[in-house]
C-alpha cells in the first residue's frame, strides 16, 4: 500500500509517497541520505544509526510510516562542533578502514558526547557496544572518540578562561 509521507530530513521537509512496508533506513537512503548504511537489518550492527526527534535509533528497526512527521538527522545533517570534531578525530586516529560502520559509530559518539562530555574509556566502549566494525578492532575508534572529547573540552576551557 502506498502512503503519503512527510518527514524533516537533515533540516529539510521531505514529502513523498512510500510503500508502507518500507523501513526508515530505506526511505532515508532513497531520499539521498546515503551516509546511513544497511548492514544486518536485525538491529545488531548499528550501521543504520540516525537520530529521530533527537534520540538515537537503529533505523532498520523502524517502519518508515511510523516515523511520519518526525525530525530525522543522519550523518549528512550532523554539522555541529561535536560532529565536526569527531569526524576529524576519526581521520586523525585512523578510526576507520573500509568506512562501512563509520557513520553509525559517529552518530553514536555524537549522542554520547552530547550527554556526557567527559566519558571514561569504559563509557565509550559501552556506548559503541551496539555497533559492529569488521575492520579496525575498535581500539582506534575508542581513541578517536576520546580524542574528540578532549579537544572539545579544551575548547570549552579556552572559551571560559
Amino acid at each position: 500500500m502506498t502512503e503519503h509521507f512527510q518527514i524533516t530530513l537533515n533540516g529539510k521537509l521531505v514529502e513523498t509517497d512510500i510503500d508502507s512496508r518500507a523501513l526508515l533506513i530505506e526511505v532515508v537512503r532513497d531520499c539521498g541520505a546515503k551516509g546511513a548504511h544497511i548492514g544486518c537489518l536485525t538491529g545488531d550492527c548499528g550501521a543504520c544509526s540516525l537520530e529521530v526527534d533527537g534520540r538515537l535509533a537503529k533505523s532498520c528497526l523502524v517502519l518508515a510510516v511510523s516515523a511520519a512527521g518526525r525530525e530525522v538527522v543522519t550523518i549528512e545533517g550532523s554539522r555541529d562542533a561535536i560532529a565536526r570534531e569527531l569526524q576529524s578525530a576519526f581521520v586523525a586516529c585512523n578510526g576507520f578502514q573500509c568506512g562501512y560502520c563509520t557513520s553509525g559509530m559517529i552518530m553514536v559518539a555524537i549522542a554520547l558526547l552530547r550527554a556526557n562530555p567527559s566519558p571514561t574509556e569504559a563509557e565509550i566502549r559501552n556506548a559503541i557496544s551496539g555497533n559492529l566494525c569488521r575492520c579496525t578492532g575498535y581500539e582506534d575508534i575508542v581513541r578517536a572518540i576520546a580524542s574528540a572529547a578532549d579537544a572539545l573540552r579544551g575548547r570549552t576551557f579556552e572559551r571560559n578562561t
Binding site: M1, E3, D19, S20, R21, A22, L23, E26, L41, T42, G43, D44, G46, S49, R55, L56, A57, K58, C60, L61, V62, L63, V65, S66, V108, A111, L112, A127, I128, S129, G130, N131
Partner: protein, 279 residues
Amino acid sequence: MIRHNFEYRAPREIEEALQILAGAGDDCAVLGGGTWLIPNMTFAAHQPGIVLDPKHLGFASISECGGEVVVGARATYVDAMRSPIAVAHLPLLVSMARGITGGISITGQGTIGGSACYGNPSSDVPACLVAMRARLRLRSIGGTRDLGASDYFLGKFATARRSDEMLVGIVFPKMTSDVRWGYYKLKFSTGSWPIVTAAAMVVNDCVRVALGAATAVPILTEMVLPADGGGEPLAELAKSCASISADEELVDELAGPGYRRRVAHSIVLRALEQCRGRE
C-alpha cells in the same frame, strides 16, 4: 523492504485500537519499539496482516499509584533508567534495564512491555517481573484485567495474553527500603543473549528468587532464609532455587544440554550475594 503486504494502523483512540484487535486477533501485531517485531517481519518469520501502532495512545509514562508503580507498556529501558520513580521504587528493574545490550539505541527503542509480550525465555524481563510480583495490565473491548507475572508467562514465546488484548501497563508493588535485592545474568560476551538470569528479593528473612532463561518460563522459589544467612547455607539455598530437570532445561546453540543446569545455581548465588551486600 518487508515482503508481505500488511495494513498499518495508528488509531487516535484506545477504543478504536481495541476494536481492531478484536476483529483481527492473531493476525494483528501491536508495535512496541519494533526491535523484535520489525526484523521478524523483514525476515518473514512473522507476517501479521495488520500492524497496530499505539503511538498516539500514550502508555509510555511511569507513574506512582499509592503503594504501586505503573510502568506504561510503551516505556523503554531508558525511560525506566531515567525515571526518578523507577529509580526510587523499582531498583531491581532499573538494574536489569542498565544491563540490556545493543547500545543506547536498543535501550531507547525497546520497551519493557514488548519484551513481556514476546515471551522469549532468553530475555531479561520475565524473571524480573516474576520476582517483583508484577501484574500485567491487559485491555480488550471486554474490559481490563490484571494478571500476575507467574500466571502470565506460559511457555517459550507463549503468554496468557489473548489475541484481542493489548498490554497497557505493568504494575509493580513498590520495593520498600527494607527490601534487599539482586539481579545477575550470565552472558558470554558484552553483546550476547542472557544464558541464565536470576532476580532475587529478600524481605526480613523471606527470600523470593526467580531463575530466568534456564527454562521456558521463569522458576519462582520462595523460602525462609537460614538463620546464618552466609556461606554454605546460602550456597545450599541457591542450589534449591536452581534445580532443573533435563526435560525442562532450555538447550540451544549457545548452551548445550546440561550447561544451564550446571551453572544456574552459581548465578542464583551471585544474585543472593548482591542481596547480602545491600544489607
